[in-house]
């Protein structure tokens, strides 16, 4: 990967910058995108597809603001090459709601004041969405402080002190557990 094997930088690469075509599903839509081979998934989403909801906070995989889901898993888009996502399903914050309705996490974040400056929020939501989906298919789903902290431990927030984010995720997680119990014929 990278720019034609020439290590001297992108300027030389402008003359022979290798373009690759990625075919993937983004938020449910099939797309074919021509991108420079050295571009990251984040660059492809932001510069090529105009999906600027995913943020660049550190460009080194430290802060989690770029978190999106690839094949269901949370992935740091700033350190994932676009070509590596060829053939995959990619989900970003723009695709989080269903049929025009906000995702339960989005509602909980808005109502509990979990988004302050909002810059970490898209990545935070994508990590939380993965946690919720895993909870929904768990044999014995339990909402625990440790599990939430683990699921969101890779997403930095500087505004909230995490208290309100934790509350919002826990609330949405409770809904998932209650729904699972209902589906399992529980006595709610």
């Amino acid at each position: 990967m990278g720019n034609t094997g020439d290590s001297s930088g992108p300027c030389e690469a402008t003359h022979a910058r290798r373009i690759v075509v990625c075919r993937l599903h983004v938020n449910g839509e099939p797309v074919a995108v021509a991108v420079p081979a050295h571009w990251t998934l984040l660059e492809m989403l932001r510069y090529q597809l105009g999906l600027v909801g995913s943020k660049q906070g550190c460009d080194k995989g430290d802060c989690g603001a770029c978190t999106v889901r690839v094949a269901g898993d949370p992935v740091l888009a700033c350190i994932t090459l676009a070509v590596a996502c060829d053939g995959h399903y990619v989900e970003t914050v723009e695709g989080l709601g269903v049929g025009g309705e906000p995702h339960p996490l989005q509602r909980a974040f808005a109502e509990r004041g979990a988004a302050q400056c909002g810059f970490c929020t898209p990545g935070m939501l994508m990590s939380a969405a993965h946690y919720l989906d895993a909870l929904a298919v768990a044999d014995a789903p339990i909402v625990s402080t440790d599990a939430i902290a683990r699921a969101l431990g890779g997403n930095l927030c500087r505004c909230t002190g995490y208290t309100k984010i934790f509350e919002a995720v826990a609330e949405a997680a409770h809904e998932v557990v209650d729904r699972s119990a209902l589906l399992a014929g529980g006595d709610l």
Partner: protein, 832 residues
């Protein structure tokens, strides 16, 4: 199958909130409506600076390779096709120009005086010493030398690595605690950027103070250090500039000979700070410079002063490129080049009687200002005033200095000098308690200021503080007495059994002054405008920015209740100097209290103008059914039927007199400050707080785990409980980071070695407990509906509270933060 989880959530509430005291119920204030920017933020629709549609060139900055010296040459290496670039150096910026504006007095009288011929290449702030671009001499590593712009953002970043800055180096000074050698002096005769003396009682006279100390039963000395801290807003700094040259200059190279128009958009806290800076850089009158704030991903002070520099760079490139130019810092550049919290060393000497009553305080404070003056004088001022804490001390002498060092300038960061000196005093009081064999809470109880008492500046406390009662509530909340005794037993057993865990509780009592210090608010003379819009909505026009704290939401709440209307009748305008008056910067815990108050008063003015102009002649009056907003605001909109008022608002839209309401800051009576003697009412009011930490230390790794944290504060009326809790919890965790994790390490050239979020460690959700936020509410008569400021207060307490808890756990002195595992190992080994 387990159905229910072990987590119990607090009830989500839009109901009126009240702490213990019953306050009058209001329709919006004191409740927690969803924040106005919430939906856009959770759906990813909010556009930050780098998200805006942009057609233009990208900028990059080439910086100095050493800490101090003179640039001898700039070499453009092979590789980039340099003819494709716009390139700007200091040579492009005129040295002498006839200034077209009055001096900037927002920080008080200009220290440099007002020259008619000025170097445009100077960042206009308090002093005139920092250049936008190095002309020849430089004072810190990573100081800007060359600016590049190019249509391709990859190429410009790469090209910046192909510019070589050659220099002759000069001796540097990196330690603010030592006086400079002659060859290290770069500012005045001694590198002192600012010196402040504060005196009370016998502190006025050195011999008398010595006598007090000589006669005192208990004298305790101590030296305390606090480190630099990175603001670490998650959105890095970024600016977009656009320039419209006159027809005369459009095809002419060089600096424009005719006035031109500039528009800057970006991530910033203070539109009018950038406005002042850019009009000086471009030598343009007010109306030709427009600064607009874009949705901003956190600030914490880091986007108070520094955005002026990036904005200036983007403007210079846009002038050269004849294109809009965008500069977005990546995280590494942001951490290397922008400001940090001032490192600070505080030497304290206290005299006490045998009961723990403070007789005298003698303090020497030294802050590390970095390479230029920037905001250090005012940071030092707040640090000095807060050094004596919320205590009644008869005799005080504080000498404080901000010193030049060859690091990037330290700048504004939440708390603004106060967390540094408060750490020293609060840690010191625990040392004193230890010496006296008293409970640390008891030592504080005996010294906390009461109504009628005087602070170090001589300010008499007239507001109904009940610090002892608040201390008791905080102690009860964390179970202080039981935990102290249980933890002593627990620690003894762990030691006896050779086990590694230790536990401790610690506290801090402190205050934080709301708004600008001393005469600062009077100098600012902030203005606010509200205007009637055609759709019947009232638009709030202030320069105060939404940076996550919820400013837009609380302004809407205040305006709705000041007018007797609903939230949907209010629209808060995104700050843009072309649209909004100068209501001052978004700093200093002043936005809700000072500017929110201006919003209420501007609403009054709008209604008064409509009454006087006859627009409400047909409107039906109604009895005011709740309290007026403040002693200076009558909330007269509430005396008209809401439907009639709405209708009238739609009709006066655009009317030159009735269509607008204005307000300008008026100091509350009795707020008088002497900036020379450093005496008087330093702040119109204070937030008061008791913070308590419960920690466990694993002595195998020296990892500190915060088990519980109680943040209790009196902040006047809480305007929006959910937002207030969020802001306080955020400040506490930022404080915990400063206390335990966040360590800025410098190389031999004064540059940050760990300029990334891998090795500069921020707290994550896994590192902190749920912060328990408690309020007391004593309405302040000159804040909107009784509100005070809350933004900075939560930064002050976590450092000392957690350090005191760790000191109890380990049984050793904790003289500095961040108290990293390495340091804890050293200190605990030394004491053992």
């Amino acid at each position: 199958m387990p159905k229910h989880s072990p987590i119990s959530l607090p009830q989500r509430s839009t109901q009126p909130y009240s702490a213990r005291q019953e306050l009058p119920k209001l329709p919006h204030v004191g409740r927690s409506p969803d924040r106005v920017d919430g939906v856009d933020k959770v759906t990813g629709q909010t556009q930050y600076t780098d998200d805006l549609p942009f057609a233009g060139w990208y900028g990059a900055t080439v910086r100095t390779p050493a800490a101090r010296g003179t640039v001898t040459a700039v070499r453009f290496l092979e590789g980039p096709n340099w003819s494709e670039f716009a390139i700007v150096t200091a040579k492009d910026v005129p040295i002498h120009a006839q200034s077209v504006h009055a001096p900037d007095t927002s920080h008080g009288p200009s220290e440099g005086g007002h020259d008619t011929a000025v170097d445009l290449n100077i960042v206009q702030l308090i002093a005139r010493d920092q250049p936008y671009l190095v002309r020849d001499a430089f004072r810190h590593k990573h100081e800007p030398v060359v600016l590049l712009a190019h249509p391709d953002r990859d190429i410009v970043a790469w090209a910046a690595t192909k510019v070589l800055v050659l220099c002759d180096e000069l001796p540097v000074i990196l330690d603010h605690r030592v006086d400079p050698r002659p060859d290290q002096v770069q500012h005045g005769a001694d590198n002192v950027l600012k010196a402040i003396g504060l005196r009370k009682g016998a502190g006025e006279d050195d011999a008398q103070l010595d006598a007090v100390f000589a006669a005192a039963p208990v004298v305790v000395h101590g030296e305390y250090d606090t480190g630099a801290q990175e603001q670490a807003y998650i959105e890095p700094q970024g600016m977009i500039a656009q320039v419209w040259l006159s027809a005369h200059d459009q095809h002419r190279p060089g600096w424009p000979s005719h006035p031109f128009r500039v528009r800057v958009q970006g991530s910033l806290q203070c539109p009018y700070y950038v406005h002042t800076a850019i009009k000086h850089l471009c030598n343009l009158p007010d109306e030709l410079v427009e600064i607009a704030q874009v949705a901003t991903g956190g600030g914490f002070g880091g986007k108070e002063d520094f955005p002026s520099i990036i904005a200036g760079h983007a403007v210079l490139l846009a002038m050269k490129a004849r294109q809009p130019v965008k500069i977005i810092y990546d995280r590494v550049e942001d951490m290397l080049a922008t400001t940090k919290r001032h490192p600070c060393t505080t030497y304290l000497r206290t005299a006490m009687d045998n009961t723990g009553k403070l007789l005298a305080l003698d303090a020497r404070v030294r802050m590390d200002g970095g390479a230029y003056v920037t905001l250090s004088p005012v940071v030092l001022s707040r640090g000095t005033i807060h050094a004596a804490g919320p205590y009644e001390i008869p005799h005080v002498r504080i000498d404080a200095k901000a010193m030049l060092t060859n690091t990037p300038p330290n700048g504004a960061f939440r708390g603004f000098g106060a967390p540094q000196t408060i750490f020293a005093m609060e840690r010191h009081l625990d040392v004193c308690a230890d010496r006296l064999g008293l409970d640390p809470a008891e030592v504080r109880r005996r010294n906390l200021v009461q109504v009628g008492g005087t602070l170090a500046t001589g300010q008499v406390i007239l507001e109904p503080v009940q610090l002892r009662a608040w201390l008791d509530r905080g102690l009860a909340a964390i179970d202080w007495v039981d935990k102290r005794s249980h933890y002593k037993v627990f620690n003894d057993l762990q030691v006896a059994d050779g086990l590694p865990l230790r536990k401790g509780v610690g506290l801090a009592t402190f205050m934080h002054g709301c708004g600008f210090t001393g005469s600062g608010e009077v100098n600012l003379a902030s203005k606010c405008k509200v205007r009637a819009a055609k759709d019947g909505v009232i638009e709030i026009c202030t320069a105060n920015t939404e940076i996550g704290q919820g400013a837009q939401t609380v302004f809407a709440q205040v305006a709705a209740d000041a007018l007797g209307l609903e939230l949907q009748d209010i629209r808060v305008i995104q700050p843009d100097t072309a649209q909004v008056p100068n209501s001052g910067p978004t700093v200093a815990s002043r936005t809700a209290m000072v500017v929110g108050h201006l919003v209420a008063r501007a609403c009054d003015d709008l209604v008064r103008r409509m009454e006087d102009g006859g627009a409400l002649a047909q409107a039906r009056p109604k009895a005011m059914d709740y309290a007026r907003p403040s002693k200076q605001s009558d909330g007269r909109g509430g005396s008209w039927q809401a439907d009639d008022l709405r209708q009238a608002v739609a009709q006066v839209a655009g009317h030159p007199v009735m269509g607008e309401g204005w307000s300008e800051y008026e100091p509350p009576p009795g707020v008088i400050w002497d900036d020379v003697a450093y005496k008087g009412v330093a702040y119109g009011t204070y937030g008061w707080a008791v913070y308590l930490a419960d920690v466990q230390v694993d002595t195998t790794t020296m990892e500190v785990k915060v088990l519980d944290f109680v943040a209790l504060q009196e902040v006047g009326r809480v305007l929006h409980p959910t937002l207030a809790i969020g802001q306080i919890a955020g400040g506490v965790v930022q404080g915990l980071g400063w206390a335990l994790l966040e360590e800025v390490t410098l190389d031999a050239q004064g540059a940050m070695k760990n300029a990334n979020l891998t090795s500069y460690v921020l707290p994550t959700m896994a590192d902190v407990p749920t912060i328990r936020v408690l309020f007391e509410e004593q309405p302040y008569a000159y804040g909107p509906f009784g509100a005070k400021g809350i933004g900075e207060l939560p930064m002050d307490g976590p450092g000392p509270a957690v350090a005191n808890a760790v000191a109890m756990a380990l049984g050793c002195h904790v003289p500095a933060i961040p108290a990293t595992p390495e340091k804890l190992l050293r200190w605990s080994t030394l004491s053992a």
